[in-house]
């Protein structure tokens, strides 16, 4: 197990250097010079090379914001936020873009500090934390049984129970986060917003529209061409073209 951790840690620098830093400087120069389309192309290359990197999404969001494409900007900021919710820059720009589209990162009335703590770990980090706690609970439990009768056995048992308790808390936290705004959600990226139909097809009636940049809940992905989306604030749901909504 120790070797496994060592291997994991050794693998980190490899991921950090997934793309050429010189390219990033070049793309940022384009951005600085106001060539936002060209910069955006570069940032998209960065994202393609490293989909789990938050900064590619963040920079792409910036370029899209400058191009006044609020929907895709909110999408990329939201992606960056789900990957690294602790970054002040990402939070600030996501909140800013959401406010431009009539939304707010921190729900009205909720303390900002509590919101920060609630989102301090990304969903992937939360799952990884739960996995590590599971390992620890199992390994400490195994030590408890193997050292049965020795003076170390109770300590191992307590460690196992503590890890188990933390695991339960982490799972509860992860479960609660499933109902959060960014879980199983998408962003309306179509310019001008998307129509919400009463069924998955053009022969169904349009009865609402979701504005561009709006973060929506994705309720059903079964159809080939349509998502069933929900607007929790308004309490309505409908079907929107998959090409109009980008999954976070």
């Amino acid at each position: 197990m120790r070797n496994l951790f060592l291997a994991l840690l050794l693998s980190l620098p490899g991921g950090a250097a997934a793309y050429d830093r010189g390219e990033l400087v070049e793309f940022n120069d384009l951005y600085r010079g106001g060539h936002y389309e060209e910069a955006l192309e570069g940032y998209m290359q960065v994202i393609a090379k490293e989909p789990s990197g938050q900064w590619g999404h963040y920079n792409a969001g910036n370029a899209l914001y400058r191009l006044n494409r609020m929907g895709p900007a909110v999408y990329h900021y939201a992606r960056a936020f789900t990957l690294d919710p602790r970054s002040g820059d990402i939070r600030a720009n996501l909140d800013f873009a959401m406010r431009q589209t009539g939304q707010s990162l921190v729900p009205e009335g909720a303390p900002a500090a509590l919101h920060y703590v609630y989102y301090i770990l990304s969903e992937a980090e939360l799952k990884a934390l739960a996995a590590i706690l599971f390992w620890l609970a199992c390994l400490a439990g195994a030590a408890y049984f193997l050292l049965d009768g020795s003076k170390w056995s109770p300590a191992a048992g307590r460690a196992s129970a503590l890890a188990g308790l933390l695991l339960v808390l982490a799972l509860a936290w992860a479960g609660a986060r499933q109902s959060s705004v960014f879980s199983t959600a998408g962003v309306v990226t179509r310019a001008g917003g998307t129509r919400m139909l009463s069924g998955p097809g053009e022969n169904f009636k349009t009865y609402a529209s979701a504005p561009e940049g709006r973060i929506v809940k994705i309720l059903d992905t079964g159809d080939e061409a349509y998502y069933e989306i929900g607007l929790p604030k308004e309490g309505i749901k409908g079907w929107a073209l998959k090409t109009d909504v980008e999954r976070i």
């Binding site: 980190l12 490293e50 900064w55 390992w135």
Partner: protein
């Protein structure tokens, strides 16, 4: 482990530390001077904002549909303890109710950009006026009654001219000293309904400043036998300098009904008559006449400390605490209270205080307008920092004003204030409090997204999380398998410890054969005595393991009976062979000289065969 929980714990701790003081930094409270008010009366709303900086933000009043709002000043208090500044500012508002019934004052918010605080909702009951306004006028002070009589006389004159609508302005006096209060009343009379709400343009002044006296009074009155509805607006005036003063005309613009008579014989009579009901009327302008006032000069002989205050005042001085440490800031306040134009009252001259460092003053004003009289108090706050320990006294502070009723100057002085100053400790910090020199506040002029990131790659934590989640599924099951295995081993071990006879029973055969091998090796080495001893001990152990009793302490007969009793399937043959082997082993074990190498080898074979036989029968 720490790697994962350290950020979480640090963030939670930081959030707790950040959130706890944040809740205590900016606070706001609101209260009214009473819960029930008559529709014709005023209500004082005091909003107190407290914060931990030298200045606190002004509250944002909600849209009050049920009240007219007038600002009535503010008062400030600052406390500095151990260098920590706490400021509390009370904003006073005069509310004049508009509707009868239970009225709500919604939550009042205050924000300094970082924090927002909010009051709770206040409830006020507005009742009908207890007495008609005409009767209530009798309870007002003498000048007000005089003004009322004068207004009525002027109105009567206008009414005698047969006017249906007119505007009159009157002052309660024609002559006054600079700074002495003069009340002006502007009344708008109408005996006909108006098409729309009239617009009032207040008068302009020369050599005068004005202060509103809310609320707008309305009522009905008989003037010259005609019933008029009137609206009255009052203001307090204060002359600035001796000489002539002037109140220029006030104006009311009103939509009045057209007065053209309809000829009943007109062929279009019905069309005109019907048109009257929807007519907007005509716009007319009503103005008051110019009023001139004589402002008398103040008499000669003003005291040395006189700074122009006119009215009727008292003055007091106090410190926020009787004891302090050297170097610790103490709030020292001089309060001038009474009637007069408190806005123009300036701070009394502060005496030289060699025992203290004296920092800049600031004043707070609290104005009341009850009974159309401007009263209130003005508090001048000084920050005193004792230079050394001991009993220190702030000498009396002198304040002079001119009393217009008595026509003479008056000079007041405060009581001396004594402070017990102790030696300065670590907690006593010198405070340089000077709001006027404070750095200019940062003003946000706009907002934008933050700049692109120069960072490449990801942070270690997300990458580690990705690495953990990227592991094959069986890696995650390995700890569970280990846990299951160790659980089984522990259970097995406990079972083994709890059932030693069972395990000895099962192990007896294998141990017997191991002993036989040992004995054969000894025989080959020529150690027949040791071999026979080994066989003898092994045989005793074998029988003991099978029977669960130490058989070496038994006789052969007893042992055979025990085997038969425990294992009924044991045949007489095996029991006989057991007896024979036992006797043979005993004989050779206890008289080794008789044991040859061949005999020992035979015993080993015999023992081996007997074990095989007994294994089949002893189950």
């Amino acid at each position: 482990m720490n790697r994962f929980f350290a950020p979480l714990a640090a963030a939670a701790l930081a959030a707790a530390l950040w959130a706890a003081p944040a809740a205590a930094m900016l606070t706001v409270t609101a209260e009214t001077d009473r819960d029930t008010v008559e529709i014709s009366e005023n209500l004082y709303l005091t909003v107190t904002v407290a914060g931990d900086s030298a200045s606190v933000p002004e509250p944002k009043l909600p849209n009050l549909q049920s009240f007219n709002i007038y600002s009535a000043g503010r008062s400030q208090s600052i406390s500095i303890i151990n260098g920590k500044i706490t400021t509390s500012v009370s904003f006073t508002y005069i509310l004049t109710p508009r509707f009868i019934g239970a009225q709500a004052i919604p939550p009042i918010t205050v924000s300094n950009g970082k924090e927002t605080a909010m009051t709770s909702e206040l409830r006020v009951t507005v009742t009908k006026a207890a007495q008609p306004p005409a009767q209530r006028l009798n309870t007002r002070p003498q000048p007000a009654r005089q003004q009322q009589r004068a207004a009525q006389q002027a109105a009567k004159t206008a009414a005698n001219k047969g006017e249906q609508i007119f505007l009159k302005a009157e002052t309660d006096r024609k002559s006054a000293y600079p700074g002495e209060q003069i009340n002006i009343s502007v009344r708008f009379y109408t005996s006909v309904p108006l098409s729309s709400n009239p617009q009032y343009v207040p008068p302009s002044f020369k050599n005068l400043i004005s202060e509103d006296l809310p609320p707008v009074r309305t009522g009905e009155t008989d003037v010259g036998g005609v019933r008029y509805a009137y609206s009255e607006i009052k203001a307090a005036l204060f002359a600035l300098a001796p000489g002539p003063a002037e109140i220029r005309p006030a104006t009311v613009v009103a939509q009045v009904p057209a007065q053209d008579a309809i000829d009943p014989f007109d062929p279009n009579f019905f069309q005109k008559f019907m048109a009257m009901s929807g007519a907007q009327g005509q716009s007319r302008e009503f103005t008051t006449e110019k009023i001139s006032l004589d402002i008398k000069p103040l008499p000669a002989g003003a005291p040395a400390g006189f700074s122009g205050a006119v009215g009727n005042y008292t003055v007091t001085a106090s410190a926020d605490r009787p004891e302090a440490r050297a170097g610790e800031a103490v709030n020292f306040s001089i309060t001038v209270a009474g009637s007069g134009n408190l806005k123009t009252v300036i701070a009394p001259k502060f005496p030289d205080l060699p025992d203290f460092k004296v920092f800049d003053t600031m004043s707070s004003l609290d104005v009341r307008k009850d009974n159309d009289l401007i009263t209130g108090k003005k508090v001048f706050t000084y920050i005193l920092v004792p230079r050394s320990e001991g009993r220190k006294t702030v000498p009396p502070v002198k304040f002079s004003y001119f009393d217009p009723k008595a026509g003479q100057y008056r000079e007041l002085q405060t009581e001396p204030v004594t402070l017990n100053v102790e030696k300065g400790g670590q907690g006593a910090k010198t405070v340089n409090f000077n709001p006027s020199n404070a750095a200019a506040p940062v003003t946000a002029s706009g907002a934008d997204i933050r700049y692109v990131a120069e960072k490449s790659g990801g942070d270690p934590l997300p990458l580690l999380a990705a690495a953990v989640l990227g592991l094959p599924w069986w890696v995650h099951t390995a700890p569970l398998a280990l846990l299951t295995l160790s659980f089984w081993l522990a259970r097995f071990n406990r079972f083994k410890l709890a059932n030693p006879l069972l395990f000895r029973f099962r192990r007896a055969r294998s141990e017997a054969f191991r002993d036989i091998e040992t004995a054969e090796r000894l025989i080959k080495e020529g150690k027949t005595n040791e071999a026979v001893s080994e066989l003898y001990d092994s045989f005793m152990n074998y029988l003991s393991d099978k029977c669960g009793v130490k058989v070496s302490a038994l006789t052969i007969r007893k042992a055979a009976e025990l085997v038969k009793a425990r294992f009924p399937a044991a045949t007489p043959r095996s029991l006989d062979e057991m007896r024979e082997l036992w006797e043979a082993l005993e004989l050779r074990h206890f008289s080794p000289e008789s044991a040859g190498s061949e005999g020992a080898s035979d015993l080993a074979k015999k023992y081996s065969l007997l074990v095989e036989l007994m294994e089949k029968e002893l189950k």
